[in-house]
């Protein structure tokens, strides 16, 4: 067996050698000797080329079949549109049957109203009502168009000029709703890549504007200048390379509606100049209130108004109108006329409200003693309320929003709120005084403690203030005695 195998192999080998050495194998092509080994190499080359040309193995793609998609669509169960209604959602606010002045009528009874931000007492003022009536008769109610398409009425332009003249800025722009002012102005100036340092107690309008602008947001502790300085220092150190192109802003409110604190503007301006940031100031609750002629926080802190880059305010507070405005340099205002979405894509302010704002500013200019009265009321109530059992005053002394906080918080915001709502509803039912608890929407990121707010007006008399203080003392004592 082995021998025959060896013989066969030898024969095959001998034959192969002969074949390779045969004259045909020794062909001469172009003067090059072709040996037999070249055939083997040629064969190898062919095998390699064949393998390379094969497609590599990929697992086959299997898109979902029609039936599978239908099954998935049938199986899918969406969440219900709204979560189930709980008991807290059944809250009903008091319904007024008259105007929201210092004395109002609720359920047929007369009550003392501390729930309207009517700081100068303009609600029900005859001059205001007269000018609004003539505006309604001339222009109708609505303006029927956005500012770019025949919705600009001459009262709008007059109002913008009046506000700019009152504050001493080059120009101003009117918005048709107070809440939309901030959340349209911020995205026009701050985009992705810019940095904004904001106070943690700013209201929802500002928070929404910051979110829509997609910039980097850094919050600092409420009204704490050291925390602000640390944040600014950190940002400048981390971003020194992009200083030329990156816009940096500090956003604060002049008078915070979530806590009644006043921002220290002079220190903020010092920090701003040191670290090269721009300041956006929301003066909704301080315009027409602070400063000896009502020009706002800049006058109160003795800061020249051109040091603040952008000032916005809602007119639904001291001016007893609606809408909002923004003032600053001409470049800032002109830019907003085309890139601020709440200005371009929305109908303009009804003309009678613009006329109301002009009249309100005129009355304020002529009667600065209203501010003195408001100040006197504020300090009186502040003094009276410093001795309420269980509640302490947490707002600044000059702020017309008096903010009462629990001396001993229960630990959970919900329970705190229940207690405070109890106090407020008893104040209305038993003592006929309307006050307000701070309400937080589910979208609001602010985590400041909740409390009771009282809005003081220049129209309140001393007896109103004393009555309010007495009532709060009585009701608070009985509520805290129960629990």
């Amino acid at each position: 067996m082995n021998n025959s195998m060896a013989n066969v192999l030898n024969a095959a080998l001998g034959w192969l050698t002969k074949a390779l050495d045969a004259p045909s194998a020794k062909a001469v092509v172009f003067g090059v000797q072709i040996g037999g080994h070249l055939f083997v190499e040629g064969l190898l080359l062919v095998v390699i080329l064949f393998l390379l040309s094969q497609k590599s193995y990929k697992p086959p793609k299997r898109p979902l079949t029609r039936k599978e998609i239908e099954d998935l669509c049938d199986e899918w169960v969406p969440d219900s549109l709204i979560p189930p209604i709980t008991e807290e959602m059944q809250y009903e606010p008091p319904v007024l049957e008259s105007s929201a002045g210092p004395h109002a009528i609720v359920d047929g009874k007369e009550v003392v109203n501390f729930a309207s931000a009517n700081y100068l007492g303009f609600i029900g003022h005859e001059k205001l009502l007269e000018s609004c009536t003539s505006a309604v008769e001339k222009y109708g109610v609505g303006s029927c168009g956005p500012r770019g398409f025949y919705g600009t009425i001459d009262v709008h332009l007059d109002c913008e000029a009046r506000i700019a003249k009152f504050l001493g800025t080059p120009d101003s722009i009117l918005y048709s709703y107070g809440l939309s002012t901030m959340f349209s102005a911020i995205p026009a100036f701050s985009k992705k890549g810019d940095i904004v340092v904001a106070d943690e107690g700013v209201h929802w309008g500002i928070q929404n504007g910051l979110y829509l602008s997609r910039s980097t947001i850094v919050y600092f502790k409420h009204n704490d200048m050291k925390s602000l300085e640390a944040a600014l220092e950190k940002i400048v150190v981390e971003n020194s390379k992009r200083a030329k192109k990156q816009r940096r802003y500090i956003v604060v409110e002049a008078l915070y509606q979530n806590s009644g604190q006043i921002a220290p503007l002079d220190e903020i301006v010092k920090l701003k100049e040191k670290y090269r940031f721009r300041v956006l100031l929301d003066e909704s609750n301080s315009f027409g209130v602070l400063g000896h002629s009502g020009r706002g926080l800049t006058e109160y802190c003795k800061v020249p108004v051109d040091k603040i880059d952008i000032i916005t305010a809602a007119m639904g507070h001291a001016l007893a109108a609606e809408g909002g405005f923004c003032t600053g340099s001409s470049r800032v205002i002109e830019h907003q006329r085309l890139s601020s979405s709440g200005y371009v894509f929305s109908a303009s302010l009804p003309p009678y409200l613009a006329r109301a704002a002009i009249t309100a500013i005129d009355i304020l200019d002529e009667n600065p003693e209203l501010l003195k009265k408001l100040n006197a009321n504020t300090s009186r109530l502040w003094k009276e309320l410093s001795s309420v059992p269980g509640l302490s005053v947490a707002s600044s002394q000059d702020s017309p929003i008096v903010f009462l906080r629990l001396k001993k918080p229960t630990g959970s915001a919900k329970d705190d709120l229940k207690l405070l709502e109890n106090i407020v509803s008893r104040l209305l039912k038993e003592e006929s005084v309307i006050t307000v608890t701070s309400k937080r929407s589910t979208l609001d990121k602010c985590r400041l403690p909740v409390g009771i707010k009282l809005f003081i007006s220049a129209g309140h008399t001393e007896s109103d203030l004393l009555k309010a203080a007495d009532s709060i003392r009585r009701v608070a004592a009985s509520v805290f005695a129960e629990c």
Binding site: I69, I85, M89, S98, Y150, A243, H335, P350, T442
Partner: protein, 489 residues
């Protein structure tokens, strides 16, 4: 979609290219000038970066006098346009005391409530004296008056939904409602031509956004199937909920939404429908109840109905109508309700009174007359324009009529020539419309009489010949098929 003739597309591209090149040329010189002159920024970054407002500085400022024209009377069928002049080549415009009385084809005054009305205005003045122009307070604090509650009941009854909630501004309604209803993990499918307020609200909510082709229920179905099968991006978990957002009438096209088909698709795939009736409430439908009435859709099938009062009711504000639980939930959570000042009481009274007039509850037939008048006016005007050879978009019965201009030079030409003949029109260009498709938009009102419309047609025809925008063949007077314009569905 609009198909644009080749020659027009070429000339439009050429015009824009020329303007763009010229603008870049001037910017180049401006850069040199600024480098040579020291800047006064002192280490701050410029507040508006150069690229962002290239379009504004080089293109928009040339034709700035066509936009933002101030008026000095009520925006009724005829109004006074204030004349302006410029000393520095249109960069700043100054008012003069001259006014010209023009025919108003631009304001949203569909039922003619814009000026002082015999029924509404006395009641508005009464409520002004009683409640004062503002309540200075939010709805949840102390700003709810009996007028607000009455308004919400009236609106709910009019729209045929169980309950409604009213806000002070239409734009804020959309921006503040969508974040409350849907958040991260949800999907919003919106029409490609939706209004900026809806886009802002959708972005502010944090949900994923997908777009479907304008008014195409078949594409909506395709997108829904794909998205439900795939789930959330990257993690592939199922979506928490899906909301489809459409508008009743699209304000730049004048088209009605294909609501019955869209509602059917959404029901099949269990998605919620959000209908924005900003332009259609009060203006279309037999009794003015909007696109649901016109197209025969049951209001119980539309989950959330939103609308504004600025257009047909001559006031301001917006509303949301839905089930009682939905409205109760919104009252507790919506930021616009809790932080925004309540709607001005005289404006609320204007809405209540105009609703009463429309429904005929004031004891006269004016409401029905107004509705019939706007329908007849719209149909008459549209058919006449089409006969003259203009390319007009929009469906029958819709009071909005865009006339295509295309070329950027025709925009100021059309606008200024019409103003010379005392007709005020609105022209719209980029970025409110796509770059090539600039148009002039006409809004018809019930306050326009037949003579007003004939005068408008005469002027528009003359100016159209001068400017050269009669793109369609002029229809001979006897053959009139009443077909649509050249747009593919």
């Amino acid at each position: 979609m609009i198909t644009i003739p080749y020659l027009t597309a070429l000339t439009t591209y050429f015009s824009y290219g020329l303007l763009f090149a010229f603008g870049q040329f001037r910017d180049f010189f401006r850069k040199i000038y600024d480098w040579w002159k020291s800047s006064d920024l002192q280490g701050y970054a410029p507040i508006c970066l150069g690229l962002e407002d290239f379009y504004i500085r080089r293109l928009y400022l040339r034709i700035q006098d066509c936009f933002g024209r101030p008026i000095s009377s009520a925006p009724d069928a005829w109004f006074d346009v204030v004349e302006r002049y410029s000393n520095d080549n249109n960069k700043t415009l100054k008012r003069t005391t001259n006014v010209s009385r023009c025919l108003n084809l631009g304001s949203y005054n569909y039922l003619g409530f814009a000026a002082a009305d015999e029924y509404c205005t006395p009641r508005v003045i009464e409520s002004l004296k009683k409640f004062s122009p503002s309540t200075c307070s939010t709805r949840v604090d102390g700003g709810t008056t009996s007028l607000h509650n009455e308004l919400e009941e009236c609106v709910a009854k009019f729209v045929r939904k169980p309950a409604a909630i009213v806000f002070g501004m239409g734009y804020v309604t959309n921006s503040a409602i969508l974040p409350v209803l849907i958040g991260k993990g949800g999907l919003i499918i919106s029409d490609s031509l939706n209004h900026n307020s809806i886009v802002n609200g959708a972005r502010g909510s944090g949900a994923t956004i997908r777009v479907f082709q304008h008014n195409t229920p078949a594409h909506l179905e395709k997108v829904l199937r794909e998205q439900i099968a795939e789930g959330q991006p990257r993690i592939h978990r199922p979506w928490k909920k899906i909301i489809v957002v459409v508008e009743g009438i699209y304000s730049m096209e004048g088209e009605l939404c294909k609501l019955p088909e869209i509602v059917e698709v959404c029901k099949k795939y269990k998605a919620y429908v959000y209908l924005d009736e900003a332009h259609s409430i009060g203006a279309i439908g037999k009794s003015g109840r909007g696109v649901c009435e016109l197209l025969g859709v049951d209001t119980a099938d539309v989950d959330i109905m939103m609308g504004t009062f600025t257009k047909s009711f001559g006031s301001c504000g917006g509303y949301i109508a839905g089930s009682k639980e939905l409205i109760r939930f919104l009252r507790y959570t919506c930021p616009a309700h809790m932080y925004g000042t309540s709607i001005s009481p005289p404006a609320a009274q204007q809405i209540i009174s105009s609703l009463k007039v429309i429904l005929g509850e004031d004891g006269s037939k004016r409401g029905a007359q107004k509705l019939a008048s706007i329908r007849d006016n719209s149909n008459f005007f549209r058919s006449e324009l089409q006969k003259m050879g203009f390319e007009v978009l929009g469906d029958n019965d819709s009071p909005i009529m865009p006339i295509m201009l295309y070329n950027p030079a025709k925009i100021p030409a059309f606008s200024r020539e019409c103003l010379k003949h005392n007709v005020a029109v609105v022209t719209v260009a980029f970025p409110a419309t796509p770059l090539l498709l600039a148009r002039a938009r006409i809004c018809i009102s019930a306050a326009h009489t037949r003579e007003d419309l004939l005068k408008a047609l005469e002027v528009i025809s003359k100016v159209g010949d001068m400017v050269g925008i009669k793109y369609m063949p002029v229809e001979p007077k006897k053959l009139q098929h009443g077909k649509h314009t050249k747009k593919e569905a």
